[in-house]
Symmetry: C2
Subunit: 207 residues, 2 copies
DNA sequence: TTCTTCATGTAATTAGTTACATGATTGA
DNA sequence: TCAATCATGTAACTAATTACATGAAGAA
């Protein structure tokens, strides 16, 4: 019995990190902040829970260390863990899930002011630039031979490129949206749709 | 007190729909499926809960109708609701949240086979094409003058364009990734990073 | 008239977050 | 030596999901 509850994608995300090397829980949270969290964001406290589940399933082992008189836990993957990870990699995946409060607000922009809408897309642009800069720094570190886990560069790059493309897309969309909204009158309810832009958008959606 | 718990972004998403017109709960779930759900996905059952909260806060009213002898509830926004919505539109928003099991798997692709990785990116591409087709159909309906809520086209288009751009980006990324992975040897652990591709990616990230 | 799908919810469960507590380390 | 930050967790809470139940309408 013991069951220990089903493994989720988050469990496998942690398991994947353990496949690289053993980590203490805190180190796992650092990795989440830096890399993994961009495509699978979870709160730090979750990372204190999930490895226990992996241990209960026999996919990881835990070892107590101490720092001063304070204990800490370091987790390592088992052979069964590597096998479970490999099986997971063969299974079909869910498509991307996107949540954007900003786009949601743009969708309802006619209920607010034109300036609200402009501020919202400007915030989206700022967000994209900031994320992009951090992401680009990682890439540059690799180019300089300073990236952590150089041996993982081939896979890292493909995921990193996804982020680069995404941030760039958000930024370009924000610029385009700014241009559109600037053409609105003060009361967005009276905004006339730019039919040329609609046509161009439909064309862009036709590959 | 009564408090009725705090309003979340999901509450405002529903409130925004009610600002367009009154809807029954089921109709709200339809809208989620069709439009809103692409940027703020929530399960149908949530849409049976949230409007009650809006009513408790005085932001909406509910009216019982019947279909046969079966009752159903139709919600409408109040003036206070419109005001709350307008205030929400002025507030700062969270940036986009992206979750991708597929990119996660690519990140750990060296723990599986090359074919697994190819299958995963192919699935991402298929997902993007499918979503894109549905999204494009909406745009084409508008062009044909058949879109629902033509008066909302100006705002709809900006949100719709975000989706178009996103699906396109995913699809192009998947093609690029396929080309990269095809160069890997059978065992992805031995994959040599394509340094030219790294350089090009860093350049793309430099605006 | 029965089966299927559409429609309208409620209940049970869970995955995840926020808040809290506290020891260790560093540096002003 | 005091404050701030890094590190290590647990507890309380909640937002959201899945599962379930059932009536109505339309199709076979």
């Amino acid at each position: 019995m013991s069951s220990a509850s089903r493994l989720t994608t988050t469990s496998y995300a942690v398991l994947g990190l353990l496949a690289i090397q053993p980590w203490s829980t805190y180190e796992l949270t650092r990795q989440m902040d830096r890399s993994l969290g961009r495509v699978w964001p979870r709160a730090a406290s979750k990372l204190y829970e999930e490895p226990k589940k992996l241990v209960a399933h026999g996919l990881a082992t835990s070892r107590q260390e101490r720092v001063g008189k304070r204990p800490r836990t370091v987790y390592a993957i088992t052979d069964a863990g590597r096998q479970a990870l490999a099986e997971w990699l063969q299974r079909p995946s869910e498509g991307p899930v996107l949540e954007s409060e900003q786009v949601l607000k743009v969708f309802f922009a006619d209920q607010g002011t034109r300036d609200d809408a402009l501020a919202t897309v400007a915030a989206a642009r700022a967000w994209a630039e900031e994320r992009n800069a951090a992401n680009r720094d990682v890439g540059q570190a690799y180019l300089a031979g300073e990236g952590a886990f150089q041996e993982r560069l081939a896979t890292n790059m493909i995921a990193g490129r996804f982020l680069t493309d995404f941030y760039r897309m958000v930024s370009e969309w924000a610029d385009w949206a700014t241009g559109q909204i600037e053409q609105w009158p003060d009361d967005p309810q009276r905004a006339e749709p730019d039919m040329d832009a609609v046509r161009e958008t439909v064309r862009r959606a036709t590959w």
